[in-house]
């Protein structure tokens, strides 16, 4: 089977105020379908850069990066957007829900950019919300939901396009221990039952320890797990 995500000797450097910063200095990494991996490392280690690359939001300076089997170097911005849409589901620390939009419309949003019809978008969004246990909150707006509920809606949004990988950036960072635990349980359940690969980016070692595999980043390189 094609790996969901594959990085071969990837570097990423950028110029910040005249100084070249080498955020990643040669990283090779494979995320297989159905994997459950945690990327850990101190701040400034390059784990955010790695996460952006793996999510197809950014392109490597050198090396080969394949998202859903497609080499991102050969894709235009718009093609890359479509690869993201089809392959990756993002879960953010701060949820990133649209404020004046109902849960079901928030979840349906990625399908807009796939050209799905409105009725079908809503049906699939409803199904995704039911999968994360939010079927009773379809028409609530984010402000009417608790933090844990908002993150569940965000996970439903990540799931709605049937992605190969859920990329979760500090998914429990804004939650208390108990709701954080619930969100982690939900991610693990989705990984186990639906076979969707989960890649967590976190600096919480307790959270990272739950993953099947830990990927440690330090100074732009991977440390042996």
């Amino acid at each position: 089977m094609t790996p969901a995500l594959e990085a071969v000797d990837v570097t990423r450097s950028y110029v910040l105020e005249g100084v070249t910063v080498h955020a990643l200095r040669g990283v090779s990494l494979t995320v297989e379908q159905g994997d459950y991996a945690a990327v850990v490392g101190p701040s400034g280690s390059g784990k955010s850069t790695l996460m952006h690359l793996l999510g197809g939001l950014d392109r490597p300076t050198s090396g080969v990066l394949r998202v859903g089997g497609r080499d991102v170097a050969t894709l235009s911005q718009d093609e890359l957007a479509q690869v993201r849409n089809a392959t990756i589901g993002f879960v953010f620390q701060s949820f990133q829900l649209l404020g004046r939009t109902s849960a079901v419309d928030n979840v349906a949003m990625p399908l807009v950019y796939r050209g799905t019809r409105r009725a079908q978008r809503r049906a699939r969004a409803r199904a995704a919300l039911e999968r994360v246990g939010m079927g009773h909150r379809l028409d609530h707006r984010p402000a009417q939901l608790s933090g844990g509920e908002q993150q569940r809606v965000a996970i439903a949004r990540a799931l709605v396009g049937e992605p190969q990988v859920l990329l979760a950036d500090e998914p429990t960072g804004n939650l208390d221990t108990r709701t954080g635990e619930e969100v982690m349980a939900l991610l693990e359940q989705l990984n186990a039952e639906q076979g969707v690969a989960v890649v967590l980016v976190t600096h919480d070692l307790d959270v990272a320890a739950r993953a099947a595999r830990q990927i440690r980043v330090r100074d732009g390189r991977l440390e042996a797990a």
Partner: protein
């Protein structure tokens, strides 16, 4: 597209006050364009109506060169010239003459200042000038310099206060005249109140004013096709009689052409000034769209992360800008039409006519303003890097 429209509406409703204020510039600009064009069109129609209301197929002959800004010319036209002109053009006795002066008209203890015109019986044949009561001047009145007068309805009201003026004697410039007719109310035309006129026989007027000249002739071409022919013939006759003098013969079309050009220019200038306000409104839209893009940077980042292409985002913001200006445009059109009709109803001298094309044009222009001023913010939104956009607080 439908989704982008829905998102745009939601975004505009989220900042209701801001959206309204942003629209205001466009609303005012569009309303001003519609109102000013309506006034310009109304004025033009009014003038046309008045000029055509004078009578059909008129040719007016005046001494000198008739141009805007040229000095008035001392007339050398005589009453006999009118008679000859009529004869030679095959319309004997059908050339109206006029010699006018402002005089005080008095009856009893009341007096008014009136335009007193010395005329001949050809006037009712050439001009549309219906009488409410009595009769117009006759040839015998002119021949015998009889001191009789036909008065305008305004004079009748001012001096006789509802009483019947027929047969009464009033004083015109200190000379007594008997009223033999009263004109129907006709209103003002080209700025002159034509109900304040007094017509007396031209011969009596020449004696009253101490002058033998004639100010102008007016004749009527037999048909619309023969206006130009009549005009040339009249000029030829006069050139023959006064080889060293210049005369002008103007037709209603020429008057309308000149007035129409002036009013058209005026309308264009006014509309252009109003269009500047529309442009300023457009700058406001551009400004607020830039603010909106900045405020919603994270939303843009998110949308791009989940698969929005550059053109999806650009289209969404462009649609928002166009929605702002077209909704503003529709409100402006409604206000402009309402304002024009209100103005026409309230102010008598300011007829306003809403044409079909000015709202259509205003709407098209406001949509174009939205596209023009929305494209820069929209492209900026579309080109945002999702990584940077998502990190923005």
């Amino acid at each position: 597209m439908a989704e982008a429209f829905r998102v745009a509406v939601t975004a505009l409703r989220a900042n209701r006050l801001r959206s309204l204020l942003t629209m205001l510039g466009v609303v005012i600009g569009v309303a001003a364009v519609v109102v000013l064009v309506a006034i310009g069109t109304g004025a033009k129609q009014e003038v046309e109506q008045q000029v055509n209301g004078l009578g059909a197929n008129l040719v007016i002959v005046v001494p000198g060169r008739l141009e805007i800004g040229s000095a008035p010319t001392r007339s050398r036209l005589q009453l006999e010239d009118a008679e000859d002109l009529g004869r030679e053009l095959g319309q004997p006795g059908r050339v109206a003459v006029t010699i006018s002066s402002g005089e005080t008209v008095r009856f009893g203890s009341r007096d008014v200042f009136a335009t007193v015109s010395g005329t001949n019986p050809a006037v009712p044949e050439v001009f549309v000038r219906p009488l409410a009561r009595g009769d117009y001047l006759r040839d015998s009145d002119v021949d015998t310099r009889r001191r009789v007068a036909v008065i305008g309805s305004g004079i009748a009201e001012a001096l006789f206060d509802g009483a019947d003026p027929l047969g009464r004697t009033l004083s015109v410039g200190g000379v007594r005249f008997r009223v033999i007719g009263v004109f129907e109310r006709i209103g003002s035309s080209l700025g002159a109140d034509r109900d304040d006129e007094v017509h007396i026989p031209v011969t009596a007027a020449q004696r009253l004013f101490g002058d033998v000249r004639i100010d102008a002739f007016a004749l009527k071409a037999p048909s619309t096709d023969e206006i130009e022919q009549t005009r040339r013939a009249a000029l030829a006759v006069l050139a023959d009689r006064y080889p060293d003098e210049e005369f002008s013969a103007v037709t209603q079309d020429q008057v309308l052409g000149t007035v129409g050009r002036i009013l058209g220019l005026l309308t264009t200038v006014l509309a252009a000034i109003a269009a500047i306000s529309l442009l300023v409104g457009g700058v406001g839209v551009s400004n607020i769209m830039l603010v909106s893009v900045r405020e919603r940077t994270r939303e843009i980042g998110l949308r791009k992360a989940v698969g929005a292409r550059t053109r999806d985002i650009t289209l969404q913001f462009l649609l928002e800008a166009v929605l702002l200006t077209t909704v503003g445009g529709v409100i402006g059109i409604a206000l402009g039409i309402g304002g024009s009709l209100g103005l026409a109803a309230v102010v008598d001298q300011l007829p306003a006519v809403v044409t079909w094309w000015s709202p259509a044009l205003a709407f098209t222009v406001s949509a174009a303003v939205g596209i023009f001023f929305g494209v820069v913010p929209a492209r900026r939104a579309g080109r945002l890097d999702p990584v940077v956009a998502l990190r923005t607080e």
